[in-house]
Amino acid sequence: MTNAEGSDLAPDGARVPAVELRQLRFGYRPGTPVLQIDSLIVPAGETVFLHGPSGSGKTTLLGIIAGVLKADRGEALVLGKDLTRLGGSDRDQLRGERLGYIFQMFNLIPYLSAFDNITLPCRMNPRRMKRLDGSLDSETRALARTLEIESLLDARPGELSVGQQQRVAAARALLGRPELVVADEPTSALDADRREAFLGLLFESCREAGATLLFVSHDRSLEGRFDRALSLPDVNRAPVAA
């Protein structure tokens, strides 16, 4: 269903995974490893649920996948590129162009309108801007319509509910058709009804954008709606810090 680009195809014609970690080691301080992952694969085009208790290293792992943190050892292949071999600005470039990131909360720049928040990655990154099919304005409105925030585009984040803010954040992560969307517990600040609604809208827009979704949470109740579920403690051999 996704019209994969050539670069996404492995030499044997199979689709390259969105994320592939091999023998990955990471610690904030030497001697206290946070992540020791021998193998972890997020297949392209799927919605993947990664769960683990608080402090198990979920955010840290997303930081490595997004290229904000750099692994100490091993390989971190993201969208076909080994981040451990890329320099800082190449990782920034890859993230800005081909990734979407949603935080747990406080996703938005407070002094920018919802519209300006959504379009910020495209305005910061010309290559992401080029990935738009139509104009910045029309694409933004289309996405906002899908996420049911079209009427809120002129509002400031402070004027929005938490659920609305998360949908604005989702729109921002998705504008410019990123190949991978990474969401760090984006629903944990929402109540159960909102959580379901948000997830539905997020799935729909990811499907429309053709994006792989890597969604982390400590809350396993959402697991069933994803194509695939992974447990971080199962793949992470590093001792969990108290």
Binding site: T59, T60, L62, G63, A66, V68, L69, G88, S89, D92, Q93, R95, G96, E97, L99, Y101, F103, Q104, M105, F106, N107, L108, I109, P110, Y111, L112, L120, P121, R123, M124, N125, R128, R172, D184
Partner: protein
């Protein structure tokens, strides 16, 4: 440009803290620049007490003393200059003009100075400003007196007022020249110099007033007709506290003793009055040379004058020397400036740093959206640099604005002219430090934001 647009919006979003930060920087800049201007104004007004005069000539004594009594109206003349000596140098080919001064009398505590039209003609202060009359005319007749502006103001005298001059610097009383009242014919424009604190009359007036006062005491009745016969008794004298023995080479010791016996309690000791019979005597004179190149040789010539012991000082140099010797006042201001700089910079660092630190969450968001180090640094540096620059500009504008606004008031109130002047090197240094600190300060949180993770500002630990 996106970075500038974002910085602008971010600043507008935090308008009040931004304004406060700018104001705190502006005030510290204004304080330093203000102190520097006052320091400069103090020196300028001190060294500008007299200008255009190449040499001040008086009887041989301390040069500071000569400067004090002839320029600042403080202390007493050290003796007299004979008419011959004065005329000799007045007609010297290297001398363009002279202003004679005869000191020794007072009016209600203000000095009375005998001089000539040359005073109004040639006296200059503060960068060559000539004297001007606010009202009336110069003193031309023996009974005319012209008031310095402060004298007129404090004593509330108008033109036509009749005043009595006191012999010496004492209080009005028995030593008054009450046989010869003077009439106010003019009031000088304010100069902000000691000129404002004296009264000016003609040498003839001084002569006539002292008719019969050769002993330094009032003439015995019946008193001589004032105005005199222009007799050979012309009498110039030097004034107060110098003991007679040191005063001059005149031989009137017995007279002085006599005078002392008569001195009423509370009155100025008239024996302080040195006087002489014989030609027009003055206590000092100012001179301008025909050419600056003549100054040194003329000075040497005066110092080596054989007729009587004289000395000549160059007021510019003497004033600068004197300023340096009382320079601890200036040093005090410099120390204050130094602490203003330290406190100002620290305050600026604190307010900028807290402003920037509060935005770590924002920076984490920018990072997640793919912003590279250049963008992050750009955002923070543009903001803090802009705040520092605004602070510096507003601070400087504040100072020059208030100088423009209050220059007149300060001059009128304190006699201190604070000139509009370009910024000095210390001020440029400080402004540079403020702006540079502003820019560099943005780098710290930028570097932090770049190194930190996406959890930044979200998780309780930092």
């Amino acid at each position: 440009m996106l970075t500038l647009d974002l910085a602008r919006r971010s600043l507008r979003n935090r308008l009040l803290p931004s304004i406060l930060t700018v104001l705190s920087i502006a005030f510290s800049v204004a304080l330093l620049v203000g102190i520097e201007n006052i320091r400069n104004g103090l020196r300028a007004s001190f060294t500008g007490t007299i200008s255009g005069t190449d040499l001040i000539v008086g009887p041989q004594a301390g040069s500071i003393q000569l400067l004090l009594y002839s320029v600042f109206g403080m202390g007493s003349p050290t003796g007299n200059i004979s008419a011959e000596a004065y005329e000799h140098f007045q007609n010297h080919p290297a001398v363009a003009w002279t202003i004679p001064y005869a000191l020794g009398d007072s009016h209600r505590g203000y000095r009375v100075i005998g001089t000539t039209q040359d005073f109004y003609e040639h006296f200059r202060y503060r960068g060559g400003t000539p004297l001007a009359l606010a009202q009336g005319d110069r003193a031309r007749e023996a009974r005319d007196v012209v008031l310095g502006s402060e004298v007129a103001e404090r004593l509330e005298y108008d033109l036509g007022e009749r005043i009595v001059v006191t012999h010496g610097m004492g209080a009005p009383g028995i030593m008054d020249h009450d046989d010869m009242p003077f009439q106010v014919v003019g009031i000088l424009e304010r100069t902000g110099t000691p000129v404002d604190r004296a009264l000016y009359m003609t040498l003839e007036g001084i002569d006539a007033m002292h008719e019969g006062w050769e002993d330094g005491v009032p003439p015995a009745p019946p008193s001589f007709a004032p105005g005199g016969e222009g007799s050979a008794e012309d009498d110039y004298y030097a004034a107060p506290p110098t003991p007679p023995s040191e005063t001059d080479a005149h031989d009137h010791d017995h007279d002085h003793q006599h005078a002392e016996a008569q001195t009423p309690v509370g009155a100025q000791d008239p024996s302080d009055h040195a006087h002489d019979h014989g030609g027009t005597q003055i206590t000092s004179f100012f001179l301008g040379t025909t050419s600056r190149f003549e100054m040194l040789s003329l000075q040497r010539e005066i110092n080596e004058y054989r007729g009587e012991p004289l000395m000549a000082i160059a007021p510019g140099i003497a004033l600068a020397e004197m300023w340096r010797s009382v320079g601890y006042a200036e040093d005090g201001l410099k120390i204050v400036s130094f602490f203003v700089v330290i406190v100002g910079l620290l305050g600026m660092l604190v307010s900028l740093y807290t402003a920037l630190d509060a935005r770590r969450r924002e920076m984490a968001i920018f990072r997640a959206l793919g912003a590279g180090p250049r963008r992050i640094i750009g955002l923070l540096v543009v903001e803090s640099g802009f705040l520092a620059l605004m602070g510096a500009v507003i601070g400087v504008a504040l100072v020059y604005g208030s100088i423009l606004l209050f220059q007149g008031t300060v001059e009128a109130r304190f006699g201190l002219l604070i000139p509009i002047r370009p910024l000095g090197s210390l001020e440029w240094l400080y402004l540079g430090a403020v702006v540079a600190a502003g820019f560099f300060l943005g780098l710290i949180p930028a570097a932090k934001a770049y190194r930190n993770t996406l959890t930044d500002g979200l998780s309780p630990r930092s």
